[in-house]
């Protein structure tokens, strides 16, 4: 079993994000970056499959120098090797262009499965997986909450809306996008961290893949970011913790009449 896991580095959940001076992205200087949450579940699922069936887990990310950390973390958790596509312009690539980059990388590799999270926590497009599967002519299943590997196929449980599910069987090789909560992601052990230092991180650039910037020109781009207008008028309650508690009880009981 040879499994590729695509991981995106994003601003940590709960980060206070500020729009940058250009108004087209956010200020990155004070942000803490981490692996995208559902990608982390995808990595764990790949490691569990490797433990059960043998094989290799290869992690792959694309981003500026800071993104190297997410593949190092994945290697420390047990991935065997990494491909780091280093590109400072990656924020300008749209999902079709990203699909093309990953397709070029993966066409040079042999694999049984490609896993990634179901969507990125920052841009939230949920597009790359199916686009990449199309470019590689692979079957895909999104929102996977269980996996099973009988001979030659992959069987998964796919989440549908409102608490509905279905089982789906797909031929290998295949691409799956993984829903958060499918497993319990591990932490890196000290031994894992030491082992990571000896593992290969292959760094590649656009030139190595023979892609020109023109081939990757974005068909969609963000022209402006802004804070959404509020839908409701919110009454903010301020003071010390004790004062806030007293005032809250008062408004809930006398204004809203819900207690």
């Amino acid at each position: 079993m040879k499994i590729f896991v695509l991981i995106k580095q994003v601003a940590a959940q709960g980060s206070v994000v500020k729009i940058d001076g250009d108004g087209r992205w956010v200020e990155e200087t004070n942000l803490v970056f981490t692996a995208n949450e559902s990608d982390n579940y995808a990595l764990e699922e790949a490691l569990l499959m490797k433990e059960a069936h043998g094989g290799e887990v290869v992690v792959c990310t694309l981003g500026p120098e800071r993104a190297r950390q997410v593949v190092k973390d994945a290697l420390a958790k047990g991935a065997d090797r990494a491909i780091f596509f280093r590109d400072d312009q990656f924020a300008d690539l749209d999902s079709n262009a990203l699909g093309e980059v990953f397709a070029r990388i993966l066409r040079e590799e042999e694999f049984d499965l490609i896993l990634s999270g179901l969507q990125a926590d920052d841009t939230g497009e949920a597009e790359l997986g199916p686009i990449l599967a199309q470019k590689l002519n692979l079957p895909h299943v999104t929102m996977v909450v269980e996996t099973e590997l009988p001979d030659g196929v992959i069987k998964v449980k796919q989440e549908l809306e409102g608490g509905w599910f279905r089982f789906v069987e797909a031929d290998l090789p295949a691409l799956l996008t993984i829903q958060s909560g499918i497993n319990q992601p591990r932490y890196a052990s000290l031994k894992g961290i030491m082992a990571m230092k000896k593992k290969e991180i292959r760094e590649i650039t656009m030139a190595d893949l023979g892609i020109t910037a023109a081939e990757l020109s974005a068909m969609q781009s963000i022209t402006r970011l802004y804070i959404p207008e509020k839908i409701k008028e919110t009454t903010f309650i301020e003071g010390s913790a004790e004062e806030i508690a007293t005032k809250l009880v008062d408004v809930l009981s006398n204004e809203a009449k819900v207690i």
């Binding site: 956010v26 939230g124 199916p130 809306e161 909560g181 969609q220 781009s221 509020k230 409701k232 819900v258």
Partner: protein, 322 residues
């Protein structure tokens, strides 16, 4: 004249709510741009409610193999419709099904897909509005391609404002015989272990990842006891195994509308909001003043929940004694 093609997703013989909301966006956009509007329904059955919607033509792709959803067949069918129709804009509701196949169609047609949009404006070029950073920030997006695929978020437009009409109906034959199926879906089912029904709860305390660890849930349990409230949560809390799965509120969990919804340490991403935004009174306690939950909160407290919750429990207990 420009063209808009809308996909009208149906389930159990009726169009889905999200499909109708997206169709309303398509009607408005067609009027604003003076474009021709076509709707498309897949499968043997064409619902009467769809036949009564205002549009220029309704395309019915009857193939029985489209009765249940398979990504490869849906991509091939819509690709064929788009080749015939050459729409400038293709619109759908951002449902789980659409998320599964529409990006693949965008890849196949090499056109941009702007997903999960909450609106559009024309200024003077066409700008799509979508949320980034889990609803904290809105983004204006423009495309540069002859064709664009757009999906609209649940609730972004109102289905009760749909205009009625009498479209011409066109049956379209699509040859799907060349499609090799590498994905074989089974029947859909509901997990039967759901036992906690939150839909009748009068008061709900919903806890998010701000609670930081399972042991700290004890302060929430204490508050729930004095408030006579049911406990609920956002997705991460059940993913971590801190609460039972059936206490999850949101697009992949339950939909609730209690008198009081107290959101504690919960950012309120759209996937959560769709499950609770119709609650009577929404109170949010979060240390991040920019958390999206404050957009829909009636009362807001920007503070550390670990300081506020014990005080609130005490204040409520004293009120009951008095």
């Amino acid at each position: 004249m420009g063209k808009i093609l809308a996909y009208i997703q149906c389930a159990n013989g009726d169009p889905t709510r999200n499909a109708l909301e997206a169709f309303r966006a398509a009607q408005l956009l067609a009027a604003d741009l003076e474009y021709q509007l076509s709707g498309t329904v897949f499968g043997a059955h064409l619902p009467d409610s769809v036949k009564a919607l205002k549009m220029d033509q309704l395309i019915h792709v009857q193939s029985p193999s489209l009765m249940s959803y398979t990504p490869e067949l849906f991509v091939a069918a819509m690709d064929a419709v788009m080749k015939t129709e050459s729409p400038d804009i293709m619109i759908a509701g951002h449902t789980y099904q659409v998320r599964d196949w529409l990006p693949r169609l965008a890849g196949q047609r090499n056109c941009p897909m702007v997903s999960d949009c909450i609106g559009y404006h024309i200024d003077p070029e066409l700008i799509w509005v979508r949320q980034v950073f889990q609803g904290k920030i809105n983004a204006d997006v423009v495309t540069s391609a002859e064709q664009v695929i757009v999906s609209f978020q649940s609730g972004a437009y109102r289905a009760d404002q749909l205009e009625n009409g009498n479209p011409s109906i066109r049956a379209m034959e699509v040859d799907l015989s060349q499609v090799t199926l590498h994905v074989r879906p089974g029947e859909k089912f509901q997990d039967t272990k759901d036992s906690i029904d939150l839909s009748h709860a009068e008061r709900i305390i919903s806890v998010g990842r701000g609670i930081s660890e399972e042991a700290k849930l004890s302060i929430i349990h204490e508050l729930a006891a004095v408030l006579d409230a049911e406990l609920a949560s956002s997705r991460p809390v059940v993913d971590y195994g801190w609460l039972e799965h059936d206490r999850q509120v949101g697009s992949s969990g339950q939909t609730v509308s209690p008198k009081l919804y107290l959101a504690v340490g919960l950012s309120g991403a759209i996937q959560h909001q769709v499950g609770m935004k119709n609650s009577g009174c929404i109170v949010a306690i979060n240390k991040d003043a920019h958390a999206p939950i404050f957009e829909i909160a009636d009362y807001g407290v920007v503070a550390d929940l670990f300081e506020i919750i014990p005080q609130l429990t005490t204040a409520l207990a004293e009120r009951q004694k008095a």
